[in-house]
């Protein structure tokens, strides 16, 4: 394997995209993800790729639509308010069955919000990335290394299912440096017989479109797409279980907040509390069966998020509200501390003991 080097999350994502065969990037700068653009502005020309800073987020996402329609690996990047601007284009990309990778390095909201780390775009990413009956695959890595491995998988899966893939990170993961090594893999992009690209008049021309004025055609298109969604839900859920075998209290947390939760779980175990952690790596599809397995012995569930509580609803749905689901979080750019989570665990475990 290659040498472990120290790299910022944003830069590691950018390098991973290039190594995954992405040669087209369209973006617009916004804190805290600007290093993605800055890195690719330098690197893309050196590998014969196209880096373009668009005039706005709306323009950038429509350039992604065009490049994806032509069948190339393409990525865009933004942070919360910029993703809202892109949501129309994201819906068009979904409606056109195009693969692409979208980064959301989240900051506090709503509105212009703040620039510090946040996880308050969970519902937007998993429930309504754009209008219509629409989903994107959502990946939530928790380390710089995992962001790199996710990027490779996201390009592949996005092409396999013809569904966009979103990396839901946050300012903490984007800004921090951690050791990282890049896998030495040969990338083979999928065949794209549907691509609207040049063919020297050797075939019928392809049309990429999301407009279906006949309701029956549009319904059929949606039903076919939901069959692919069902396959994704059956085959592509990912989660990591930590100390869950005998847990009385199960913590559920993803991304940056799972790192804090993991520290709290280790400290709680050291104090004799039977607690575990389930860390969803895919948020859509939500890892329901992994959650059911990890929570088998648990009497209580604690969801920790950097928001007012959004994934907590998916946890309740997955468990059909059969167990008490508690929530702890901070929002607006405040990062919870392991000590705060440990306090919650002690209170809940104390209650469970009674």
């Amino acid at each position: 394997m290659a040498e472990r080097i120290l790299m910022k999350g944003n830069e590691a994502i950018a390098e991973a995209a290039i190594r995954a065969g992405c040669r087209h990037f369209f973006g617009y700068p916004i804190t805290p993800q600007t290093e993605v653009s800055a890195y690719l502005a330098k690197r893309m020309p050196k590998v014969g790729g196209c880096f373009l800073q668009a005039e706005s987020e709306v323009a950038a996402i429509n350039m992604v639509l065009g490049a994806a329609a032509a069948g190339v690996r393409v990525m865009t990047s933004s942070s919360s308010p910029g993703i809202s601007l892109k949501s129309e284009g994201i819906s068009y990309i979904i409606g056109s069955d195009l693969p692409c990778v979208i980064l959301n390095i989240q900051r506090g909201g709503p509105g212009l919000g703040g620039i510090q780390p946040s996880q308050a775009d969970y519902n937007q990413a998993t429930k309504a990335p754009g209008h219509g009956d629409a989903h994107v695959m959502v990946f939530a890595p928790s380390t710089v290394q995992e962001m790199v491995t996710c990027i490779f998988d996201m390009f592949d899966l996005s092409e396999q299912y013809r569904v966009p893939a979103m990396l839901l990170g946050d300012g903490l993961l984007g800004q921090m440096m951690e050791p990282v090594e890049f896998p030495d893999v040969k990338v083979t992009p999928a065949e794209k017989p549907w691509a609207a690209n040049g063919h020297q008049n050797k075939r019928e021309h392809n049309v990429v479109n999301s407009l279906y004025l006949q309701p029956d055609q549009l319904e059929a298109k949606n039903i076919e797409r939901f069959e692919r969604y069902a396959q994704i839900q059956a085959n592509e859920t990912r989660a990591e279980a930590f100390e869950t075998e005998d847990c009385d209290v199960l913590v559920v947390a993803y991304g940056a907040s799972s790192r804090i939760a993991r520290s709290a779980v280790m400290n709680a175990r050291a104090q004799g509390l039977k607690v575990g952690l389930l860390r969803p790596i895919t948020l859509w599809p939500f890892p329901k069966k992994e959650l059911l397995k990890a929570s088998k012995t648990a009497k209580d569930i604690l969801v920790v998020e950097m928001s007012m509580g959004q994934m907590v609803d998916d946890v309740k749905l997955a468990l059909e509200c059969k167990k008490p689901v508690h929530f702890f979080g901070h929002t607006g750019g405040i990062i919870p501390t392991p000590a705060e989570v440990l306090e919650q665990l002690k209170t809940i475990a104390g209650g469970a003991a009674k």
């Binding site: 804190t31 510090q116 380390t143 440096m177 050791p179 790192r259």
Partner: protein, 177 residues
């Protein structure tokens, strides 16, 4: 080796982020788990800048250090901001040319190094941060000098390779303080 949770703080331009990176890289070279997290935002323009560095045998949980066992403060506002957060028994290293510690704690080890004055005397202008890094190395032994030398080589860009020896001289000077 023990785990370290460190905060490096000062004005933007003093090299606190760079110092933190050298320390994190040293940990990486020694085969440890490390993280480096900068403060980011409007405060970096001429205001205060800081970064959190964790070195550990285990995967790093929160990279944001809220209770440092090592604090390096290169200006007064940074000292005032972080001094109460330092863990009892921790090490606090200050540039005493710039920081006049208003508040003193009995339960931490305070190392006062006139780093800016020394850097001017020794023709090491602009790298008072490396003098403080030397003091950090001497007072905590978080890595070996050989490791730190390798780390500095990794962190100094090729275009500034001629400054490498300067940086190492500053670190050695700091170790003697």
């Amino acid at each position: 080796m023990a785990s370290y949770n460190m905060v490096f703080a000062g004005f933007g331009g003093q090299g606190v982020l760079f110092t933190g990176k050298v320390v994190a890289y040293a940990g990486l070279i020694d085969g440890k788990e490390v993280s480096w997290l900068p403060s980011y935002g409007p405060e970096m323009r001429g205001g205060t800048a800081n970064c959190s560095v964790c070195i550990s045998d285990l995967p790093v949980g929160s990279p944001l250090v809220t209770e440092p066992d090592v604090l390096i403060a290169m200006n007064g506002p940074s000292y005032d901001k972080f001094i109460d957060a330092v863990k009892p028994g921790g090490v606090v290293i200050i540039d005493s040319s710039l920081v006049n510690p208003s508040k003193r704690r009995e339960d931490v080890t305070l190392c006062e190094v006139p780093a800016t004055a020394l850097s001017n005397e020794e023709h090491l202008e602009g790298i008072a941060n490396m003098i403080l890094l030397g003091k950090l190395l001497e007072s905590t032994g978080f890595a070996s000098m050989e490791t730190v030398e390798q780390s500095v080589q990794k962190c100094v860009p090729a275009s500034k390779a001629h400054l490498l020896e300067h940086n190492l001289r500053a670190i050695r000077l700091g170790m003697e303080q």
